[in-house]
C-alpha cells in the first residue's frame, strides 16, 4: 500500500492531480491511499511552494503543476 499525499489549496490542478494518481493506480493495479493536504502549514512543512505538490511515502517527488502520467506511473511502480 502506497501512501500518496497531494499538496495544494484545493485548486483545479490539485483535484486533477489527485484524480490522475487514482486513475493510474487503478490501471496498474497498485493499492494506493490518496490524501489531499490543504493545510498551508502542513504543505509548507514539506518545503513545497509551488502547488500542487506530490508526496509518495513521505518523499516529495513533484512540485508545481499537474504531473505527467508517465511520471505518476513511475512513482507508483517504484
Amino acid at each position: 500500500m502506497k501512501h500518496v499525499k497531494v499538496l495544494g489549496s484545493g485548486c483545479r490542478n490539485c483535484v486533477t492531480t489527485a484524480a490522475l494518481i487514482e486513475k493510474k493506480a487503478a490501471e496498474l493495479g497498485v493499492a494506493v491511499e490518496v490524501e489531499k493536504v490543504t493545510d498551508m502549514a502542513a504543505i509548507m512543512g514539506y518545503g513545497v511552494m509551488s502547488t500542487p505538490g506530490v508526496v509518495v511515502d513521505g518523499t516529495v517527488v513533484h512540485a508545481g503543476g499537474v504531473p505527467r502520467p508517465d511520471a505518476v506511473a513511475a512513482w507508483l511502480k517504484g
Partner: protein, 321 residues
C-alpha cells in the same frame, strides 16, 4: 514572417465565407481568424522553446536568490524574477508565505506578486509581434516600475501589520525539489507538457479576447472612441482602470483587445491602463490573497494598483497623445 496569417484570414473571410472586403462582418471575421491563428501559433512555439531550455525559473530558486539581499536590490531583483517566473495563481499563498518565512521583505514579495502575472516572456513576445515592439517595451517598463514602487511603498508604510497573523508562525521544511530530467527526451516531454498545461489554462481567455477585439475592430466606429476615449478626455483613463477591475484575463488574452483599441486610435496610455488593470486587478486573485492579507491590506493593495495604473495612463497620454 506573419503575412501567412494575414493571407489565411484573407482566404477565410473573402473566399471561404464569401464576404465582400471592407464590410463590417468581413473586417471582424478577418481580425478573428488572423489573431486566433497567429496568437495560438506563437503561444505553442514560444512555450515549447522555453520549455526545451528550461529557462523558466522555479519559485523555490527565486526564494534562494532573494534571501538576504539588501532591500533596494531585492525590489529590482523581485520584479525581474517575477517577470520570468511563471506560477499558477493558486500557488500565490504558499509562495507569499515561503518568501516571508525566508526573511525576504514584504515589499520584495509584493513586488514579485505584482510583476509576475502582468509580465511574462510569452505575453511580451506575442505583444511585440501583434501590436509592436514599442508598446511591448512600454508595457514591460511600466509594469516593472509599478512593481518596484508597490514593493517600496509596502515596506515604507509597514504593510506587515496587514498580513494575517498565522502567516508569521508557519515554518517551512527543507526545500526538496526533485532533479529535472535533462536528457533530450526528457526536455521534449517537459516542453510538450508545458504547452498542454499553459495552453489548457489560457485558451478560453485568448478566444474571448480575440472575440472582443474582432467585435471592436469590425463593428464599433472610430468616432465612438474619438468622442469618448480621446487623450484630452480626462475621465477615459479612470474609466479604463475601473472597467478593468471586474474584468479578468491573463496577459495574453488582453493583447487582441489592446490591438483593436490602438487601431481605433485610442491613446496609448488609456490602452496600457486598461491592459494592466484587467490583468493585475482581479477578483479571483484577490480572493486568494485574502488568505494571507487582512481586508485593509488588500484594500491598500488594490487601491495602490488602481492609482498606479491611472498614473501610467495619464503619463503616456501626456507624453504621446
Amino acid at each position: 514572417m506573419f503575412e501567412v496569417f494575414t493571407l489565411l484570414a484573407d482566404w477565410a473571410a473573402y473566399d471561404l465565407a464569401g464576404l465582400a472586403p471592407a464590410t463590417r462582418t468581413a473586417d471582424a471575421l478577418h481580425f478573428f481568424v488572423e489573431d486566433v491563428t497567429k496568437i495560438f501559433t506563437l503561444l505553442v512555439v514560444i512555450i515549447f522553446v522555453m520549455g526545451l531550455f528550461r529557462s523558466v525559473l522555479a519559485p523555490e530558486k527565486v526564494r534562494g536568490y532573494l534571501e538576504g539581499k539588501p532591500r533596494g536590490v531585492a525590489y529590482v531583483l523581485a520584479v525581474l524574477l517575477g517577470a520570468v517566473t511563471p506560477f499558477c495563481s493558486c500557488s500565490s499563498v504558499p509562495l507569499f508565505i515561503g518568501f516571508l518565512e525566508a526573511g525576504i521583505p514584504l515589499g520584495a514579495t509584493m513586488a514579485f506578486l505584482i510583476a509576475s502575472p502582468m509580465i511574462n516572456e510569452v505575453a511580451v513576445v506575442i505583444l511585440g509581434s501583434v501590436v509592436g515592439w514599442k508598446i511591448a517595451a512600454l508595457y514591460v517598463g511600466t509594469g516593472l516600475a509599478v512593481g518596484i514602487l508597490g514593493g517600496w511603498l509596502a515596506d515604507r508604510f509597514r504593510m506587515e501589520r496587514h498580513v494575517e497573523d498565522y502567516v508569521w508562525k508557519i515554518r517551512m521544511g527543507q526545500v526538496a525539489m526533485p532533479a529535472p530530467d535533462t536528457t533530450l527526451r526528457g526536455r521534449i516531454a517537459y516542453a510538450a507538457g508545458e504547452v498542454r498545461e499553459i495552453v489548457g489554462r489560457v485558451w478560453l481567455y485568448v478566444l474571448i479576447g480575440v472575440g472582443i477585439g474582432a467585435f471592436l475592430h469590425g463593428f464599433v466606429p472610430q468616432d465612438f472612441f474619438a468622442r469618448f476615449a480621446a487623450a484630452d478626455n480626462w475621465y477615459a483613463v479612470p474609466v479604463a482602470v475601473l472597467a478593468g477591475i471586474p474584468l479578468y484575463s491573463n496577459a495574453t488574452g488582453v493583447i487582441p483587445v489592446a490591438e483593436a483599441l490602438l487601431a481605433k486610435a485610442v491613446p496609448i496610455g488609456t490602452v496600457l491602463a486598461l491592459m494592466m488593470s484587467v490583468v493585475a486587478i482581479s477578483v479571483p486573485e484577490f480572493v486568494i490573497l485574502r488568505k494571507v492579507l487582512k481586508v485593509r491590506g488588500l484594500a491598500w493593495f488594490g487601491g495602490f494598483l488602481a492609482l498606479a495604473f491611472m498614473a501610467v495612463g495619464y503619463l503616456f497620454n501626456g507624453l504621446m497623445p
